[in-house]
Structure formats: structure tokens, C-alpha cells
């Protein structure tokens, strides 16, 4: 076997340029597909992270069926028990009880249907980034009279400025339409145009007062956990303790987010597969050229006693050596570039608006799990092995008696 490996290795370097070209192709193919996967993963992470930190959280609790039929009186049941359960968990970073009301935002420039969200500022700060990342204004610390925080997109659409006065109309629990004037205290940016247009925040105590109720309507509690991977576990622990309410994870609340991740993951594998298929054809082509050039030599080797299985092995080893040389270099190159752009980010400033519309930041931080490196290394070597079979079989077709005649 040692001799077969030695011959295979030396055969590889007979035509240095050809070997270098095919090895470079494998390296570039691996790098481009790995980097693309890391970008897609970075986009997904980025989009998910923005959604979780701006409106989704990791877990949301509502009264059962609230999401299907969001009526004002469908508040979370046994609220004290629910909050007690949440606050006792060591996995929780923070929770934000919210009042949710459908409202109409009216200005001289136009109208916009919005979700008016009554928040407890101290709690919001533990769950969401909006309180800390206002583009302008303050977060419920300036006005004693009713005030709102609105999104940048809504401000742009309705030409609103900080401290402008707006009218917001909504129904109370009895179904009466109420209209109140609010000051714009702050304008937030969430890298999500749709969110910025439709989510308007006000203080929960203000909203309760305006609704003319002594009861605080808590329709939703958004929970942020220490570790996103624990979401399902926490859900399974909490749900039996909160039977009247629904405990849902972020990907259940926003299935499109989960589907997008699955879809992008599938696309990246398809992309990887296309690259590997293209590479395998390049490998087959190179090896066929190498074998046709050595047809006579291979026949002579069989004439003097090299059996077919060893000859087959020799060609397979020769082909796999290409992958064994190229794969670690490709992986190293991928790891270096993915780590670099993971730290410094890839800046897509020219398409920032478009990306924001889809809930993404213009700076993508590449990211790829270590399992991909291992999986793709195995996949590359497997593909090379498959690609080696055809040239190896072709080599076996050399008949000693025929090649000896070719002087």
C-alpha cells in the first residue's frame, strides 16, 4: 500500500500546473461556498436577532386564542402567578408586560393603522434594544402628558418630527371610540420598515388611564432568556404551569422567521451541492486526462503484475490526494475570512434601505458553526471519491496486450 500511495503522490506532481489548477479550483470552490453559507447564516442570525431584540423576544405569553382573535378583554389570566413563575426562573434575563391596542394614527398628512403598545419602560429596557437605541428624543422621561415613541419609517411617511402632536384613536373595552392627542417623545429605528411603521409605544399607565379603566390590561408578556437554545425547554416547563395561557416560542409566533432559516439553510446546501458537482466534473476531467496520458504505463504495470484492485486503489488515492491537499487549505481560508468578517462585518451600505425593509442590518457578520466545517470536509472527500470512480474504472480498461503493441 505504501508503494501505491508513493506512486500516486508522485503521479500527482508529474504535471504540476494541472495539479495546481485543480487544487486551486477545489480551494476556491470550497471557500466560496463556505463563505456564502456563512453570509446566509449571518443574515439569518442578524434578522432573527433584530426581530428578537425589537419585538419578538424569545418567548411570548398570551391568553389562549388571543393571537387568533386579539380582543381588548382577552388579557393574560392569573397574571400574578404567571409573573411569579417567570421571575423565579434563573434562565430569564427580563420580561416585558404589554398592553396591545389596535389604533389609528392620524395627522394632517395622513393616517396609518398601528398597534399601540402600552409598555412599562423599566421592564422594556431589560428585553428590547429600542429604549437604548432611539434615533432621537427620550424614552418616556420628558413628558408628563400622554406621549408616544414612534418608528422612523412612520415619522418619514407622515412627515412627523420630534415633539409633534398627533391624534390616536382606539376602542375601549365597551367598544367606544376614543381619540387622544399625544406628543412624539422619541423616534426609534429598528432596521425593519414594517415594524417602524406599525408599532407605536406609550406608557402602560397612560394607556390604562385613557381607557378609563382601573384594571391594567396585560395582553402579552415578552420574555428574554439567557440562551436562545433553551427556548423550547423553558416553554415545556412553563406551559403546564400556565394552562389558561399560551406559552409560545419566537419561531411559533413568527413562523416565517423559522421557515426563512430552514429555506436559506436548504438553499445553501443546494448551492454547496452545485459547487461540489461542478468540482467533481473538473476532477473527473483532470484525472481522465492524466489516465489517458498514462494508458500505456498502466497497461505495463498490469503486465508485470499489478492487479486490478491495486491499480484501482492507486487512481482513487491519486484523486483523493487532491482533496486531501485542497480541503484543509480551503477550510483554513474559509475559517480566516469568516472569522475576520464575523468580527468586522461585511458592509452593504449601498443596499441598506432594501435590507432594512426585510428586517436586516446593512452590516452582515459572517458566522458558521464548526459542524459545517466537519460536514463539508467529509462531503468534499466523499464527492472526490465518487468522482474518482469513473477515471479509475477507465484505467482498468487498459489491456496490457493492447498497450504493448503501441510502441
Amino acid at each position: 500500500m505504501k508503494t501505491i500511495i508513493k506512486i500516486a503522490w508522485r503521479n500527482l506532481w508529474r504535471n504540476k500546473l494541472r495539479t495546481a489548477v485543480i487544487i486551486t479550483s477545489i480551494i476556491l470552490g470550497l471557500w466560496s461556498s463556505m463563505f456564502f453559507m456563512a453570509m446566509i447564516d449571518g443574515v439569518n442570525e442578524n434578522r432573527t436577532s433584530i426581530a428578537i431584540n425589537t419585538y419578538l423576544g424569545h418567548i411570548q405569553i398570551h391568553q389562549k386564542n388571543y393571537l387568533e382573535d386579539p380582543k381588548i378583554d382577552k388579557t393574560i389570566l392569573d397574571i400574578d402567578k404567571v409573573i411569579n413563575n417567570i421571575s423565579q426562573s434563573s434562565e430569564v434575563v427580563g420580561y416585558a408586560p404589554r398592553t396591545l391596542i389596535d389604533a389609528m394614527f392620524t395627522t394632517a398628512k395622513g393616517n396609518q393603522g398601528v398597534k399601540l403598545i402600552g409598555v412599562m419602560p423599566a421592564h422594556e429596557k431589560n428585553v428590547f434594544v429600542i429604549p437604548e437605541t432611539l434615533e432621537s428624543g427620550t424614552y418616556f422621561s420628558q413628558f408628563k402628558k400622554p406621549s408616544v415613541i414612534i418608528g422612523k419609517a412612520l415619522a418619514d411617511k407622515l412627515h412627523l418630527k420630534l415633539h409633534s402632536k398627533v391624534k390616536i384613536s382606539f376602542q375601549n373595552v365597551e367598544g367606544d371610540i376614543l381619540s387622544y392627542a399625544f406628543r412624539i417623545e422619541g423616534i426609534y429605528k429598528a432596521n425593519n420598515g414594517m415594524l417602524e411603521k406599525t408599532q407605536v409605544f406609550t406608557k402602560q399607565e397612560t394607556l390604562t388611564k385613557l381607557l378609563g379603566s382601573s384594571q391594567t390590561y396585560i395582553h402579552e408578556i415578552v420574555v428574554k432568556l439567557k440562551d436562545i437554545d433553551n427556548t423550547k425547554n423553558i416553554q415545556s416547563v412553563w406551559q403546564p404551569k400556565m394552562v389558561s395561557n399560551a406559552v409560545k416560542t419566537w419561531d411559533e409566533i413568527s413562523p416565517d422567521m423559522g421557515y426563512a432559516q430552514e429555506m436559506m439553510s436548504t438553499f445553501t446546501y443546494i448551492f454547496m451541492l452545485i459547487i461540489l458537482i461542478a468540482l467533481s466534473f473538473a476532477i473527473v476531467n483532470t484525472m481522465l486526462m492524466a489516465i489517458l496520458e498514462r494508458k500505456r504505463e498502466l497497461g505495463i504495470m498490469m503486465a508485470v503484475g499489478l492487479n486490478k484492485s491495486k491499480l484501482f486503489m492507486m487512481i482513487m488515492i491519486e484523486t483523493v490526494l487532491l482533496a486531501i491537499i485542497a480541503t484543509p487549505i480551503g477550510m483554513l481560508l474559509s475559517y480566516s475570512s469568516i472569522t475576520y468578517f464575523g468580527q468586522h462585518g461585511l458592509h452593504f451600505l449601498s443596499v441598506a434601505k432594501g435590507l432594512e425593509h426585510f428586517g436586516m442590518s446593512a452590516v452582515i457578520h459572517t458566522n458558521l458553526d464548526v459542524s459545517y466545517y466537519l460536514g463539508i470536509t467529509a462531503l468534499t472527500i466523499f464527492t472526490t471519491l465518487i468522482a474518482a470512480i469513473f477515471p479509475a474504472r477507465k484505467a482498468l480498461a487498459s489491456k496490457p496486450v493492447d498497450v504493448i503493441k503501441e510502441v
Binding site: T3, N11, G305, N307
Partner: protein, 236 residues
């Protein structure tokens, strides 16, 4: 003791057609251990075909080949490869060394395939390369050796496996007269000192003159079989 025995050996190309070619047409030949036999004849007379069939590289249309009493024409392709590995040494007209291996590694190659130990390989290959006068060229690859030197490596490779006999197809065809004389001296010495059986096809009169036995083929048939004993000649 008979090493090779062929009986009624026939090899037809395109049989039963208008283009039928009778490369061998009923060849009966027996070769004893230690012979130094030249197979001669004009181009197309069947010399190479006969050597290929005796060497298990080709199969006859009809007839038998017995090597040490064992019939080999019914062997499968893989069995024939294994048989060649352990029993037959080959020297080809175009040398056919493995270009990526050194002279030493080329000579060692067949012993490696046979699974011989490193010590045994080293001892035999060094001796053979010394015998063929290449002890100073062992690390050179074929491209750095002359034609004559390459053919001497091929002889060393053919003998490394301790074969029952060596088949050499036109071994001197690509060599100049000096290299031809050197190669013949080496083969002759190995034949006489180690009793190695050589059968070679040739057109070269210098080779024919050194052979102990000359078998002449024409149109696939043996037309003469002469034992040459220097200085006198003897008909078998």
C-alpha cells in the same frame, strides 16, 4: 526440465471472416530450463503474439500453454496477473519503466507487489543493479538514464521476482550497438551463471548470434528450430 510447452497453438484475428489473419497457426514449442532462445522471423510472422500468449498477456484461439506443467490459457484475467507476477519476467522494446520511480524503486516494484520483506528486497535489488552495472545510478529516475541503462533496469526488474523465465520482446531494438553488446553480455551472464531462462524475439543478428537456440517463425508457423553451440551448430 521443460519450463514452457505449447501444443498446437493458434491465434486467429477476425476468425471466419474474409479478413481472417492467422498470427499463429499450430505452434508446438517446448523450452527447457536455462535456455537462451531467440524467436526470429520477418515482421508479422507471429513472434510477439507467441511471446504474449506464453506470457499470459493474450489468449490463444486454440491450443494449450503449459508452464511447468500447468495449463494457463484457462486462467481468469486476475489469475493471469497474479501468475505473471510470480512466474514471468518481462523486458519490453520500449523499456517501459515507471517514470516516477527511481532505478532502484523500479527494480524493487515487483518484489513489493509480491510482498517480499524490505531486507530481502534490498539485498536482491542491490545485487541485480550491480549485476547490470547500475549500482551508481540507483537513485536516478528513468528520464535521467540512457536507453541502454533503462533497458538494464528493465532486466533487473524482470529478474527481481525470481521468475521461471524472462520474455524479452525485441529488447535491443531501440539500443545502439554498444548498449546492445552490454545488455547481451549481462543477459548471457545471468543465463549461464544463474541458469535463468531467456526467450526473446529479435531481428537483430548480433542477438541471434549469441542465442543458444534459434526458433524461426513465418506466417505463424515454426519453419526452423536450431540449437547453436559455439563454435559448431546443431539441429534439434
Amino acid at each position: 526440465m521443460k519450463v514452457i510447452e505449447t501444443s498446437d497453438l493458434k491465434k486467429y484475428y477476425n476468425p471466419d471472416t474474409e479478413l481472417e489473419v492467422r498470427a499463429l497457426d499450430g505452434v508446438n514449442l517446448s523450452v527447457d530450463q536455462g535456455e537462451f532462445t531467440a524467436v526470429v522471423g520477418p515482421s508479422g510472422s507471429g513472434k510477439t503474439t507467441l511471446l504474449n500468449i506464453i506470457g499470459g498477456l493474450d489468449k490463444p484461439t486454440f491450443g494449450q500453454v503449459l508452464i511447468d506443467g500447468q495449463e494457463i490459457t484457462s486462467f481468469s484475467e486476475n489469475d493471469l496477473i497474479d501468475y505473471r507476477l510470480h512466474n514471468i519476467g518481462f523486458v519490453f522494446q520500449a523499456y517501459n519503466l515507471i517514470p516516477v520511480l527511481s532505478a532502484y524503486e523500479n527494480a524493487e516494484f515487483i518484489m513489493l507487489l509480491q510482498g517480499k520483506s524490505e531486507a530481502e528486497r534490498r539485498k536482491r535489488v542491490n545485487k541485480l543493479l550491480k549485476d547490470v552495472g547500475l549500482e551508481k545510478q540507483i537513485n536516478k529516475r528513468p528520464t535521467h538514464l540512457s536507453g541502454g541503462q533503462q533497458q538494464r533496469v528493465a532486466v533487473a526488474r524482470a529478474l527481481a521476482s525470481k521468475p521461471k523465465f524472462v520474455l524479452a520482446d525485441e529488447p535491443t531494438a531501440n539500443l545502439d550497438s554498444k548498449a546492445t553488446t552490454q545488455l547481451l553480455d549481462i543477459m548471457k551472464r545471468l543465463n549461464e551463471e544463474e541458469n535463468i531462462t531467456f526467450i526473446f524475439s529479435t531481428h537483430d543478428q548480433r542477438v541471434i548470434d549469441r542465442a543458444k537456440r534459434v526458433v524461426t517463425l513465418d506466417d505463424g508457423k515454426i519453419i526452423s528450430d536450431v540449437l547453436q553451440k559455439q563454435p559448431e551448430m546443431q539441429t534439434k
